[in-house]
């Protein structure tokens, strides 16, 4: 195998803003806070940054969804760049991180600042969380075949996937709960997590339904917060204060047919294609992974990622997580050690990336996975998915 080009990239810095409910701060303010922390963490000055990228850029979306665009952030930081990009479509929300790896590998930039910022908690403070398309008279594009039927949230679209998985494989609500409860146990060890008080199986089953089988605790918690990373050329590794986090492989594939309700096997997702692609670019194997940071916008998505990445067989994720001990700290595959989006907050994929970097650097204190050398990050749901394999 010729060496995959992404191995010419490292993650040299990581930084996060304050993360919380209803911070009532501007998204640009949060982004600058995270960006300056990530740049300092990499041992760099803002003037060293010569690339900038973000998910998703200033697109139409729900209130507080998009965060500031790259032009605003570049301007606020007073930097010049040789490469820049933002966008919504790509291999999961970490798409700009993956793109930045190739930008530094190609020599377009040496140090790329990549960020994801949300203010969905503050944005919904007065209204509560609304559905996609709420308040629109007419729906264009793919939503035209979903939203008029009241399928106005990914919770609805993915509940259909989850129920089918339950039907075909006998997956139970207790298995969804295992993700929520494990995340919460881990969040208790993360001072930056949003929900840290204990969560029991009883609490889980007493919660109100959102879109069955998803109850409140199966759905991630909207927050305000920004996560930034610095993607640098591997040549720079020796000059940096921290041991670098190395990019071993990325997964960016997408199979037929990327339409929510026409996806041929809805017990799988794009995660399946991205994971297969990632493993084709590395000698490492699932058994080499020390911690998995897997998207949990809904608890069910983590189950699908576990299957996609080959930690268990197809349809076997329920029994794999049953009881939670295997995926807890101290188990064979510590999962979402920062609390995930269910308890740590909906940082939209980048919370998993930040945690993977910190675990590999051994900075996680009470929640540190011992001798953590390989971490996998998988983000996205339905026809959206991308993954990265990171090493120390």
């Amino acid at each position: 195998m010729t060496e995959p080009l992404e191995r010419r990239a490292i993650l040299s810095g990581v930084g996060q803003s304050a993360i919380g409910r209803r911070l009532f701060r501007d998204d640009l303010d949060l982004t600058c806070e995270a960006a300056l922390r990530a740049i300092a963490d990499a041992g760099l000055r803002p003037d060293d940054i010569d690339g900038i990228a973000a998910y998703p850029g200033p697109v139409q979306g729900g209130p507080g969804f998009s965060g500031p665009g790259i032009y605003e952030v570049q301007d606020a930081l007073g930097i010049e760049v040789r490469w820049h990009l933002s966008g919504l479509e790509g291999p999961g929300q970490i798409m700009p991180v993956i793109a930045a790896c190739f930008a530094v590998a190609a020599g377009l930039a040496r140090h790329v600042l990549v960020y994801r910022t949300v203010t969905e908690s503050t944005a919904a403070a007065d209204t509560g969380r609304r559905g996609i398309g709420a308040g629109s008279a007419e729906i264009r594009g793919f939503g035209a075949f979903l939203i008029p039927f009241g399928a106005m949230s990914a919770a609805n679209w993915l509940a259909l996937y989850a129920r089918r998985h339950m039907h075909e494989y006998g997956t139970k609500r207790e298995h969804l709960a295992a993700i929520a409860l494990t995340d919460r146990r881990h969040a208790a060890l993360n001072p930056a997590a949003v929900y840290r008080e204990p969560l029991t199986m009883e609490d889980y089953f007493a919660a109100r339904m959102v879109s069955d089988p998803f109850c409140l605790y199966d759905c991630d918690v909207p927050v305000d917060g920004s996560t930034a990373v610095v993607v640098s050329t591997a040549d720079a590794a020796g000059d940096l204060p921290h041991p670098p986090v190395r990019v071993n492989a990325v997964g960016t594939a997408l199979g037929k047919r990327p339409v929510w309700d026409q996806w041929p096997d809805i017990t799988t997702m794009a995660a399946r294609d991205a994971a297969r692609h990632m493993w084709s670019r590395t000698e490492l194997r699932p058994a080499d992974v020390d911690t998995a940071q897997l998207y949990d916008g809904f608890s069910f998505l983590t189950l699908v990622w576990l299957e996609a990445l080959g930690f268990c067989g197809k349809g076997e994720s329920g029994p794999f997580v049953e009881g939670g001990s295997r995926i807890a700290l101290g188990g064979e595959l510590p999962l979402n050690t920062w609390g995930g989006q269910l308890s740590g907050g909906r940082l939209h994929g980048f919370g998993f990336l930040a945690e993977a970097c910190r675990q590999l650097r051994g900075e996680c204190g009470e929640r540190q996975v011992p001798d953590c050398e390989v971490a996998v990050v998988g983000v996205g749901g339905g026809p959206v998915g991308g993954c990265m394999l990171l090493t120390r």
């Binding site: 007419e138 729906i139 793919f142 075949f145 259909l160 339904m209 069955d212 998803f214 026409q262």
Partner: protein, 139 residues
């Protein structure tokens, strides 16, 4: 809280015939005459054989419930809940599915594999939504 109501599908050139057929009481999909593939959502060419000149073809309106969820959360002020969102696979082609609502069906009767048939909810002069209700088994 004025201004909240059920969003309607936009009538775009590719999709308008689908909604207008529903308004006329027919469930129709684009169909490829060369490889006999129903193409949904509408596309300008057949994604299987990459030929154009797709035709509109009516289907029986029969299918089975492929998956479902009871939605309990109001997604906009005034929306009535709960309601059932179903994913229906049409009888004519494996994988030809519609996200829809299941109506005239007590929740305890919901199950994957339930035979269903189309009914239309008229929204205005041009648009009706294809909804589904339980069909008698074996009919």
């Amino acid at each position: 809280m004025a201004g909240f109501f059920r969003p309607l599908p936009a009538l775009e050139p590719l999709t308008a015939p689908f909604w207008r057929a529903c308004r006329a009481g027919r469930l129709e999909f684009l169909h490829c005459p060369r490889c006999s593939y129903f193409v949904h959502p509408p596309r300008p060419i057949c994604p299987r054989c990459r030929q154009g000149e797709l035709e509109r073809r009516a289907v029986s309106g029969r299918g089975v419930l492929y998956s479902y969820t009871v939605n309990h959360k109001a997604w906009y002020p005034g929306q009535e809940v709960p309601y059932v969102i179903g994913l229906v696979e049409l009888a004519e082609q494996e994988g030809l599915r519609l996200t829809t609502n299941i109506v005239n069906c007590p929740p305890e009767r919901l199950r994957i594999g339930l035979p269903v048939r189309v009914v239309f909810e008229v929204l205005n002069d041009e648009v009706a939504l294809p909804l589904f209700e339980p069909a008698e088994e074996g009919r």
